[in-house]
Symmetry: C2
Subunit: 197 residues, 2 copies
């Protein structure tokens, strides 16, 4: 089998691993190089600079979020608070975000505005397209109210993102709640229900 996955792929997964395990500040080009078994400036042979590397990591994670949603929408094995593909997709999206918080913040951070990469933009577009599709479909089968698709999509996406981001920052956490993530499924359900007929 193919053991050598290519230096570029190694650098990418090394950066991703570091980001997941130690947060953003542990992701240095030196550490990434070391983790990938190459020297500190090797990344420059595959990425323009550090931001370019992070941008690629962000793009990969955006794809992960989208893929998680898509799969969960069709998976009816587990019972959900609301038995619709849209709710299952949303909940899974949030769970995927919480699995790798630093990745999620990377994806929606503002660094992408400064140096836009095509791959990241494509991943974002694909994600947005799926949001659009699933909202449209939910409207067709009557599980979402029949107002402007773009408005409903924006409302749902912003709600979902707000729930995730405020959970990550800890501002949603009540004093007595330890985790803060336990009320997420219910919050998402409430947000979705508000747009159901």
């Amino acid at each position: 089998m193919d053991v050598s996955a290519g230096t570029r792929a190694n650098l990418l997964s090394a950066a991703s691993e570091l980001l997941a395990q130690g947060g953003p500040e542990t992701v240095t080009l030196r550490a990434v190089g070391a983790a990938a078994g190459v020297s500190r400036t090797a990344p420059y042979r595959h990425f323009a600079d550090k931001d370019d590397l992070l941008s690629a990591v962000a793009a990969e994670n955006f794809g992960f979020l989208t893929a998680s949603m898509k799969k969960a929408a069709e998976d009816t094995s587990k019972d959900a608070l609301i038995d619709t593909p849209l709710y299952r997709a949303f909940l899974r999206y949030a769970q995927a975000a919480l699995e790798r918080p630093a990745h999620y913040r990377l994806v929606f951070g503002d660094f992408q505005i400064n140096n836009p990469s095509q791959a990241l933009e494509d991943a974002a577009t694909e994600c947005a397209n799926y949001f659009y599709e699933i909202v449209e479909e939910s409207q067709r089968d009557g599980t979402l109210i029949d107002e402007d698709v773009r408005d409903i999509m924006a409302l749902l996406w912003t709600s979902l993102h707000g729930i995730i981001d405020l959970t990550l920052s800890g501002h949603l956490r009540e004093p007595r709640t330890v985790d803060g993530a336990e009320s997420m499924p219910r919050l998402i359900a409430l947000a979705v229900k508000n747009l159901m007929p």
Copy 2:
């Protein structure tokens, strides 16, 4: 009048200015010191480290957000899409966020979790308390549905934050829209309307 505002206050406003004008990466202790007319290590006489300084800036901005909301809630001079204190407060909150995007991201970034400062926590609590109050009051006068206050508050705050944050990151921007912020009042109005009777 008092021209000398104290070095600590000078450092604080210098850091805030730098953050507003040049973004996070321009805020270095050396630049802050220079802007405040002192040397590069002077901040260490007033703050534990850089994060502590940024934490103080974040706390100040959190207060700014809250104060903006409070004032706008009572200001009935301008006509709004929804004529309630809650909507006026929310819209102003979003506008204040967009006035200084880097400040807003600082407030809701995850750095505060690593080194919690009392001042920042207090500012966050005061903001949350006001959200709670205005939601409660809106329920009393019948402009919000009468469900669990905490749920309604969480739903509204996450929606508002999601709209702001996704606008800042550019993900809400449609191809044809240049600014991306122009549809914000309408989006906020839609979010609020969903929780009106």
